[in-house]
């Protein structure tokens, strides 16, 4: 039978529906807490109630007596985790810190730190017994107040040790050269800590299949990284640790680190000899799995009256914990986004008695873009220029930081497409000019950028007996549609219809792939899949013998159940015959793929985005409604317009939360979050989400990878928050420099 799909051209670029869509709409997709294992029992964590100090006693008797309880584990009776061995010199903190060692000793580093895990035969019994554990503490004075401690921010150790680290201070031209400009502004920007809050609560099932063999079903973004981390912790060979993350119910970065609850479950499984399931509560998602850190920023900017930037200085202090130095690229884009001759950046971190942050979608850059893109808008207003025009005047066609060309940059195309779609011509230069009844209307924009990264990955491709191709790589899919994109890439590489290709991920048994993070999965794993498919074709060609000897692999296709030429005529060989030539075995290859050549030394590689927002601000209540968003991206080749569009608009909606509603607030008297559920910490809901129009330039960047992709996940949110706050300014004349912009702030501004 003739294969249909190929007649229509390429699979890449098609609006193909997700390969796992059916599983997701029927409840068939299994997330980490949803595996049935014989003898499975349940864990529940107990958290500390002080933010700093020591546990002086812990009473577990009542919990142990409670029905169904199998074990109550604390630092007093926990088996020692070999990798937790004490530091050689306890007085000197290690360079970048050490992840919290759960149940290691009596020290408390943050409020709600796990101090015990209760294991019982049912979830209800585990949870009830966890409430019976009573601890007493020698509390010490804690510091969770960012504002009060801001001056204690310090240069990250990695920067102090390595002069080449990007976290070091940076100057081009004159230090603080903005000061010489005729028009100057200085402004401070704040945002509260923001929580990832994926809908799936962080969950793990830990199972010791033998004394030296561990399997975890875990909500992570890196199965191989997790495998290595737990192998090291437990002194096991890597292959003795298996990590499964077939479906991940969102993560946005909080699956990029291994957290105390994971090891708590592994310890509990060791003690009880049974598989232990542990699902965090929504409160625990505030304290145990990272967040976008609260950050202070200051931008000082100088420009000429005709709109040329003279200089930008960008200072930032970001929150971290006392036991790990978390850093992110908050100030980096200020160095490369605009053609300013004088740029200075200084990045500091501040250790407080809180849990460690972790990268959250558009890490650092989303924070930095809020300050930079707000300040650009403020400067445009000061000199009386349209902020789009101001950006164009300071546009740069080479990277001013590294002094080299961009691999590709189509930001101007994004500006134009976005301005048309939002109706930028409706925007009035004078704030507060557009009004409908009690609503003021405004328009704003914000630019985003993120490195177009590509790493090394392996993929396996196998032609199976049923004529389908199976691909495997140990990447994960937290939602973008990785499997779908990989099938499309493979379809083009093989000349095989997409319904004859399967891509498997989320299993540490598969060939090495990095974490799903930093917008790099398609660049990295997609390239490996592409290479594996080409290698498979080459192997089939060899098996095909003499008749295929003089054919280029690119001319070959696997359509219609046979190896043949794309052009009509020529040799053909059925899959069955090829298998026969392979001694009846599956024909398979595993290849590693990584960036080659010196393109990465000679070019600067970035994705770019611009977001436009239309807002309405209520004059009496201060309520802000985002009524329309347009998000435009220069992200290289778009593999799937449908899923990429979803990723883009999903990022814009996440950005609405960042701008208007999301802020995790600590009561500094106790060092404990007062926002502790989804009723006190507000993520956007249906009613908050406007239509989001998405535009992709869709031009390949073949210097980044052979597919021409650059990455979407981060730029989808970077620049959204300032687009909204700039629109609020345009609507009201009020400049809001503290996120989230809740109605009270609008009214009081």
């Amino acid at each position: 039978m003739k294969d249909q799909l190929l007649q229509d051209g390429k699979a890449v670029g098609d609006r193909m529906s997700r390969v796992d869509g059916r599983l997701k709409v029927t409840g068939g997709a299994k997330y980490s807490a949803e595996y049935e294992l014989p003898g499975l029992v349940h864990g529940a964590l107990v958290g500390s109630t002080v933010a700093k100090g020591r546990i002086t006693s812990i009473d577990t008797k009542a919990a142990e007596r409670a029905p169904g309880v199998l074990a109550v584990i604390t630092h007093l009776n926990s088996p020692k985790v070999p990798g937790f061995a004490a530091k050689s010199n306890p007085d000197e903190p290690p360079a970048i810190g050490q992840p919290l060692r759960v149940f290691y000793d009596e020290r408390i580093y943050f409020n709600d730190q796990p101090i015990a895990i209760v294991v019982a035969d049912t979830l209800e019994r585990a949870r009830h017994a966890a409430g019976l554990v009573k601890a007493q503490y020698a509390a010490e004075a804690h510091q969770t107040n960012f504002e009060a401690n801001k001056s204690k921010g310090f240069l990250p150790t990695q920067a102090r040790r390595n002069p080449k680290s990007a976290q070091n201070d940076y100057t081009r031209g004159q230090a603080d050269g903005y000061q010489s400009a005729p028009v100057k502004l200085e402004a401070e920007y704040w945002h509260e800590s923001e929580m990832h809050h994926p809908m799936e609560l962080q969950s793990i099932i830990a199972h010791w299949e033998a004394a030296d063999r561990l399997t975890v079903y875990d909500k992570v973004q890196a199965v191989k990284g997790t495998q290595r981390a737990f192998a090291k912790d437990w002194g096991l060979p890597e292959q003795n640790v298996k990590v499964i993350a077939t479906f991940v119910g969102g993560a946005f970065g909080n699956g990029l680190h291994n957290w105390p609850h994971e090891t708590a479950a592994i310890i509990a499984a060791k003690v009880t000899g049974k598989p232990v399931k542990l699902m965090l509560t929504r409160e625990q998602m505030f304290t145990m799995v990272g967040y976008r850190p609260k950050t202070w920023q200051r931008i000082a900017m100088g420009a000429t009256k005709d709109g040329k930037l003279v200089g930008i200085s960008h200072d930032s202090v970001g929150q971290t914990s006392t036991y790990e130095e978390f850093t992110e690229s908050t100030v980096q884009q200020t160095r490369m986004m605009y053609a300013a001759p004088n740029v200075t950046t200084r990045y500091r971190i501040l250790g407080l008695d809180v849990s460690t942050p972790i990268w959250m979608r558009g890490p650092g850059e989303a924070t930095g873009a809020f300050a930079l893109e707000s300040a650009i808008d403020e400067m445009a207003h000061l000199i009386g220029m349209d902020p789009l025009e101001f950006r164009l005047r300071n546009h740069t066609d080479t990277d001013p930081e590294k002094n080299r060309p961009w691999s590709t940059k189509y930001l101007k195309e994004c500006f134009q497409a976005g301005a048309e779609r939002i109706g930028w011509n409706k925007r009035q230069m004078k704030p507060g000019s557009l009004r409908e009844g009690d609503w003021l209307i405004g328009y704003g924009m914000g630019v985003g950028t993120f490195g177009a990264n590509r790493g090394a990955a392996k993929a396996r491709a196998a032609l199976l007996a049923d004529g389908t191709v199976l691909l495997q790589s140990a990447t994960t899919d937290i939602g973008p549609g990785t499997g779908t994109a990989m099938v499309q890439i493979a379809s083009d590489a093989l000349g095989l219809p997409t319904d004859k290709i399967r891509f498997e991920l989320g299993n540490s048994l598969f060939p090495q792939a990095p974490s799903q993070g930093g917008s790099s999965t398609v660049n990295t794993v997609g390239s490996a899949v592409n290479d594996a498919c080409l290698a498979l074709k080459k192997k089939l060609q060899e098996l095909g013998g003499a008749s295929f000897a003089n054919v280029q692999p690119e001319q070959l296709t696997l359509a219609d159940g046979q190896l043949g030429l794309k052009a009509n005529g020529g040799p053909r060989l059925s899959f069955a015959d090829l298998r026969k030539a392979n001694n009846g075995q599956d024909v398979e290859v595993t290849v590693e793929s990584k960036p080659s050549g010196d393109a990465r030394q000679n070019y600067s590689m970035y994705s770019f985005s611009v977001h436009f927002a239309e807002v309405r601000v209520h004059t009496m209540t201060g309520e802000v409604r985002v009524t329309k968003m347009v998000s435009c991206a220069d992200a290289g080749t778009i593999v799937n317009q449908k899923t990429a569009g979803s990723q883009m608009s999903g990022g814009a909606i996440g950005g609405i939360g960042m701008a208007l509603t999301e802020g995790a607030v600590i009561d500094d008297r106790y060092g404990r979050y007062v926002t502790r559920d989804l009723a006190s910490y507000h993520v956007p809901v249906h009613a908050d989400a406007p239509p989001v129009e998405v535009f992709f330039v869709n031009k390949p960047d073949l210097l980044v990878d052979p597919l021409g992709t650059k990455g979407i996940g981060e730029i989808a949110i970077i620049g959204v928050a300032p687009a909204i706050t700039n629109a609020i300014f345009n609507a009201t004349g009020k400049r809001l420099r503290e996120l989230p912009v809740t109605p009270d702030k609008v009214l009081l501004a």
Partner: protein, 212 residues
């Protein structure tokens, strides 16, 4: 500053204790009425937790996706945990456990309910439909088809709840405009932000006029 005085927990779980005491007392009363003296003596002694546990099973009849179940559950078990942990119907998701996210939405006698907010024992004799029971065999429900077509999800974790809620939203007559859909779907959070696509899917099913 070192403070050696033990600190009381600011959020000490007092309500749990009150509940336990109540259960113990009530099971003790039942025990006095029904049980032999040994049990009563055991209950009076420190073994009361275990005894209370023995009395904490309540019979329950449920029809779940057309399958009749005769169960015995603890009164504190939520419908959500019963479905996920005991019946292994994990299509219904837990996103908060507090009625704040909608991931756990199921139909009880055809109406949408947050299954984390209702105790299983309160549903005795009722008909429960979960995401696993929505399709007709291999043939997907029109809402499931529309979610696939419009890409009404990314990670897929909120999806079962969104779909169950979307079907109910149309049945209730609350899907007459984009604005109305958004209002009546706002109990279902999607952190991936698939909202516009979800609304498009609902609008298509609504205007398609198929029976939902």
């Amino acid at each position: 500053m070192e403070n050696e005085k033990p600190q009381p927990a600011p959020d000490c779980p007092g309500h749990n204790e009150a509940r336990r005491t109540f259960l113990k007392q009530s099971s003790l009363l039942t025990a006095l009425a029904l049980a032999p003296g040994a049990v009563v003596r055991a209950a009076a002694a420190e073994l009361d937790e275990k005894v209370a546990a023995a009395f904490e099973q309540v019979p329950l009849k449920l029809d779940v996706n057309g399958v009749k179940h005769k169960l015995s559950v603890e009164p504190r078990t939520t419908l959500l945990d019963l479905l996920r942990e005991q019946l292994h119907l994990t299509g219904t998701k837990k996103g908060c456990d507090y009625g704040q996210c909608g991931a756990c939405t199921v139909h009880v006698d055809g109406k949408r309910v947050n299954s984390c907010l209702t105790l299983a024992v309160m549903q005795d004799g009722r008909k429960i439909t979960t995401i696993e029971g929505l399709a007709n065999g291999d043939k997907l429900h029109p809402m499931q088809e529309a979610f696939i077509k419009h890409d009404g999800f990314q990670c897929g974790y909120c999806t079962p709840g969104q779909i169950m809620s979307a079907v109910a939203c149309i049945r209730e007559g609350h899907a007459n405009s984009e604005g109305e859909i958004k209002e009546y779907m706002s109990g279902n959070i999607c952190r991936c932000g698939a909202y516009p696509n979800i609304v498009a899917a609902i609008q298509e099913v609504r205007s398609g006029g198929q029976k939902v």
